[in-house]
């Protein structure tokens, strides 16, 4: 069974739990004391990930770090539909990679602001919030025009991809870092759509949508 080195309050760990729940993949959680214990920087964990970051998975001996990389791996290996990370589609894979990079930029800004506000990290908070707002503007505009073309998801019309899963958590948690989503109505509609994906699961700070579908 997949082992997930995990922290309950991490959006990057949550996105793996979310995709595995959607795909029906069984996994075992190995909870680290990320805060206040900083166990992700402990000698035993640095042997697993020398970068000292969560999440990491161990899939029967195959060890992989980096949330976005793990999403790609999980979809490639455990999604028989092939829709979460389509193979052999160069343009689609390029678009997905673009938004996976965008998810990292969200982590560097919106997640950093949340760590500052919630876990007392030393972060340039004004810069982090301004950076998140600049990204959310790009995201809102992209999603708005996507809707105009009948496209519900970041990269595709009919089905979400790992890009949606990658970007969702720290957008949804942004208010814990003082980043209001009121100016981003298209983002708010997209987050409701993500919450209605069958198999959606929650984490502290992220609520489900109405269980009843429209």
């Amino acid at each position: 069974m997949i082992k997930l080195y995990d922290f309950e309050l991490s959006g990057n760990c949550y996105k793996l739990r979310l995709l595995m729940n959607i795909l029906g993949v069984k996994f075992e959680r190995i909870a680290l004391d990320f805060y206040p214990g900083r166990e992700h920087r402990s000698p035993w964990f640095l042997k697993i990930n020398p970068l000292g970051q969560l999440p990491v998975i161990d899939d029967d001996g195959f060890v992989l770090r980096d949330a976005q990389a793990i999403l790609v791996y999980l979809a490639g290996k455990y999604d028989p539909s092939g829709l979460w990370y389509p193979q052999g589609a160069a343009e689609m894979q390029g678009r997905i990679a673009q938004w996976l990079g965008f998810a990292d930029a969200i982590t560097a800004t919106a997640s950093a602001a949340r760590l500052h506000d919630g876990l007392f990290y030393d972060v340039d908070i004004d810069k982090a919030r301004a950076g998140a707002h600049a990204l959310f503007r790009v995201l809102d505009e992209h999603l708005w025009f996507a809707e105009q073309e009948g496209q519900d998801w970041l990269c595709s019309s009919g089905h979400p991809t790992v890009a949606d899963i990658a970007c969702f958590p720290y957008v949804m948690l942004s208010e814990e870092g003082g980043i209001n989503r009121l100016p981003y109505p298209a983002i708010r509609r997209w987050t409701d759509r993500v919450k209605r994906i069958p198999g959606f699961t929650v984490m502290p700070g992220i609520f489900p949508a109405d269980a009843v579908s429209v």
Binding site: F145, Q148, L182, P183, P185, R188, D192, D210
Partner: protein, 219 residues
């Protein structure tokens, strides 16, 4: 509260989607906007009367809005509280209700009036029959600064918080608060397909330029 009266667009009609709650702000007041499954649109003070939690994080179940905190139910239309989960056998008192504002759907937008005696007949007449609603642009700058930059682009006042440019574009200004503004827009005429997308892109680009100029000046 005379200052609070008047009708303002707060969202494009098609963006108030089923089973969703739009979070809006008008003149410093947050407003939760939601549509029931019959199509009726509601604009309420964004505050649960029980513990003050934002109703915009609540659940639109198609008939009622349920608060996320203690699950109190509020009926579409009246805002009347219909059910309190912690007191399932008691009928909630009539005085427990979400606060509804005046709401109307005109010209492709949901309009809200925060006044006590909102009269739908007073929604501004725009004299447009065929139109295309544009992407609304959020600007982190005061109304006056935004209007100043729009004037440079050829937009002149055509009513309170309404601007026109003489070539078929009408802009409607939503004051969020003293430092934030939303510019809604309509282009005369209806087009479809690629032509419509090109029109939307073009207006989005020009309004985004105005936004950036206004924000640079306000910074």
């Amino acid at each position: 509260m005379e200052n609070n009266k008047g009708w303002f667009p707060v969202a494009r009609v098609e963006e108030v989607v089923p089973r969703h709650v739009v979070q809006a702000q008008l003149m410093g007041q947050e407003v939760a906007i939601w549509r029931d499954d019959q199509g009726q649109v509601n604009a309420w003070e964004n505050r649960c009367p029980h513990r003050g939690v934002r109703l915009s994080i609540g659940i639109n179940d198609g008939k009622e809005l349920r608060c996320r905190y203690h699950g109190w139910h509020y009926a579409s239309g009246s805002g009347q509280c219909t059910f309190i989960p912690a007191h399932p056998s008691q009928k909630p008192a009539n005085v427990i209700k979400a606060k509804p504002y005046g709401v109307a759907e005109r010209y492709g937008f949901v309009w809200v009036n925060l006044g006590e005696d909102a009269d739908i007949a007073e929604v501004p007449a725009l004299g447009l029959n065929a139109f295309t609603t544009l992407r609304s642009i959020y600007v982190a700058a005061p109304v006056a600064a935004v209007a100043g930059h729009l004037a440079e682009q050829g937009f002149a006042p055509a009513g309170d918080f309404i601007l026109e440019n003489g070539s078929g574009t009408t802009l409607l200004i939503q004051p969020m608060d003293s430092g934030q503004t939303i510019v809604h827009g309509l282009a005369a005429g209806e087009v479809d397909g690629a032509e419509r997308l090109a029109l939307l892109r073009r207006h989005n680009t020009s309004l985004t330029e105005v936004r950036d100029a206004a924000e640079r000046a306000a910074a």
